[in-house]
């Protein structure tokens, strides 16, 4: 198996990457593949596709609303894997990671890892599966992307890193998605601390909503994650019955990717 995540981080060495998040199947499953391609055209280096859940306890209002739209339109893990398969038919390179909660994956059954990796999924982020409960399911053939947070102290960090692969996702603020933003100086210090402990690329997310914020984080991190801001735009476009949601997504993501790519110009030379 080619390791798309490692290849992608190797390919963009010298600049920060842009990781974009959408709720899979939001607003409807049939728009998911066009939206994924729009993210890539807009300059996303890696995509997190959210698996909607009725009780997303770590998500703020924007992603909760995205989950409700997608579930209302019949989204499921099975459909998410079909979406991944269809995306892969025309995009072999862009890494795709599923982010979500454990229960829908458990309900899918023990075939999840094999089916997901066959569909072309590269990894998973399971918000409510801490290292302590890792034995709960097999994720063979998939990267297990772990989360580190401002509450992950030096004593706990080795536990988080043990078994982590792909990249490390640093949750920049204690909180839910799409709410407060972290100060760039705090992020820089946290990334330094994490990079001293791991060779994995460090992506930073939570509360990154504007090109300016993305640029500030990109100066310090290997990648910047933007989620709620994209999901909010999808929701707004859906509400006014836009007939080009993918086009609107692409336009917004372009502003993010330009900012992220420009972040290290001043310091690069």
């Amino acid at each position: 198996m080619t390791d798309r995540i490692a290849s992608r981080f190797a390919a963009i060495r010298g600049r920060a990457g842009l990781v974009t998040f959408i709720s899979g199947g939001d607003p409807t499953p049939d728009l998911a593949v066009p939206i994924l391609h729009a993210l890539v055209r807009g300059g996303a280096d890696l995509i997190e596709i959210g698996m909607p859940f009725t009780d997303p306890m770590a998500d703020g209002p924007a992603i909760q609303a995205g989950n409700i739209r997608a579930l209302g339109a019949g989204m499921s893990v099975r459909k998410l894997l079909a979406i991944v398969r269809e995306f892969r038919a025309t995009d072999e390179a862009t890494p795709l990671v599923m982010m979500g909660y454990l229960n829908p994956v458990l309900a899918y059954g023990p075939g999840f890892a094999a089916d997901a990796s066959a569909a072309g999924l590269d990894g998973v982020i399971l918000v409510d599966l801490p290292p302590e409960e890792r034995q709960e399911l097999s994720l063979e053939g998939l990267h297990l992307i772990r989360l580190a947070t401002p509450t992950t102290d030096a004593a706990r960090l080795p536990t988080v890193l043990d078994g982590a692969s792909g990249f490390l996702y640093y949750v920049a603020v204690a909180g839910v998605t799409g709410q407060q933003s972290a100060a760039a100086a705090d992020v820089a210090a946290a990334v330094r601390r994490l990079k001293a402990a791991t060779d994995l690329p460090v992506a930073v997310g939570f509360g990154v909503k504007t090109p300016e914020q993305a640029e500030a984080i990109a100066a310090h991190a290997d990648a910047v994650v933007v989620g709620s801001a994209i999901v909010e735009r999808i929701g707004a476009a859906h509400d006014r019955q836009s007939n080009d949601i993918p086009g609107e997504v692409e336009a917004f993501v372009s502003t993010l990717s330009r900012a992220v790519r420009g972040a290290r110009k001043e310091t690069a030379a």
């Binding site: 859940f53 893990v77 454990l102 801490p130 409960e133 204690a174």
Partner: protein, 407 residues
Amino acid sequence: MPDIQTTKPAALRAGPDANGHFGQFGGRYVAETLMPLILDLEREYEAAKADPAFRAELDYLLKHYVGRPSPLYFAEPLTRHLNGAKIYLKREELNHTGAHKINNCIGQILLAKRMGKTRIIAETGAGQHGVATATVAARFGLPCTIFMGARDIERQAPNVFRMKLLGAEVRSVSSGSQTLKDAMNEALRDWVTNVHDTFYIIGTVAGPHPYPELVRDFQQVIGEEAKAQLLEAEGRLPDVAVAAVGGGSNAIGLFHPFLDDPVELVGIEAAGKGLDTDAHAASLAGGRPGVLHGNKTYLLQDADGQITEAHSISAGLDYPGIGPEHAWLHSIGRVRYEGITDAEALDAFQLLARVEGIIPALESAHAIAWAAKAAPGMAKEKIILVNLSGRGDKDIFTVAAELGVQL
């Protein structure tokens, strides 16, 4: 003594294991941001258990503030009315704030104080846990925010006002089914955002480890007292002990001290409009194992693992899960779980009011309803111990509406 009767039962009260598992259930399925906090809580709870000063303060408050021990009452008129087994009621509704919930809140706020936390949050369904939390927060001078589903706020107006009188902020939760599970989601979101100063007082034996263990420990005073009281009154143990189960804190509190004894234990799930309909809250009868709110347990869910909405006339039982220790006790067959419908609970609510002059909470009315069904078929020397977990004043509006009475 190599006695199988004592070695096997001893294991029944020994759980959870070091990682918070009861068999395959329980555990710590939380976001990484919360992991260090619950590990910290676990350490602090272990230290508190070993500290005689903690126990002494808890006992003092339970006696002088809560009013423990609560009476064990022989329900003679009800027993005569049913003409069968003797019915004893454990009068948890006579506690300060009118339900068993305060037992746990006193314990947890002492832990919060020990840990130097300065803000309290809690979720509530019927409002009993919210009132109990607001009460102890007032007593200890800590600001307190209670999360409550918008639908529950509507059907439990008296408790909402009580919480406000006690100085708590009541935050309405309008996501999802707007009931207890959504209130818990929102409380978890608040906690993850305010990790440094906030203590989350979970009201039931669910959530991530160590909550199911510590809530149980603080509630088992119910069963311990009842056991001693019944031994004094009758010189023997009950034949059956019965309690209503939502998350399951009053039930585990009653059952746990009897797990090693030859006592039949019956937990009553809310069967709502019937177990053969979609409108019930019986996660053992109608659900399957999954992960929600930090623990693995039986959940009402669809084929895709999405949580489905529970229904019960009683807001306190209106939850699509159940505490993990109950899931385990169910799986090993030590406790039998049965369903009581809204209609049966409503009948029992009125029966107890008329025959005993006691208005029970709709939650507790589920346990009364089971006893009323079982007692007539049992011999007169048999004893049924019922946990009367709360008083029903909060429910009069719901009951009036059900009976077609305009208040």
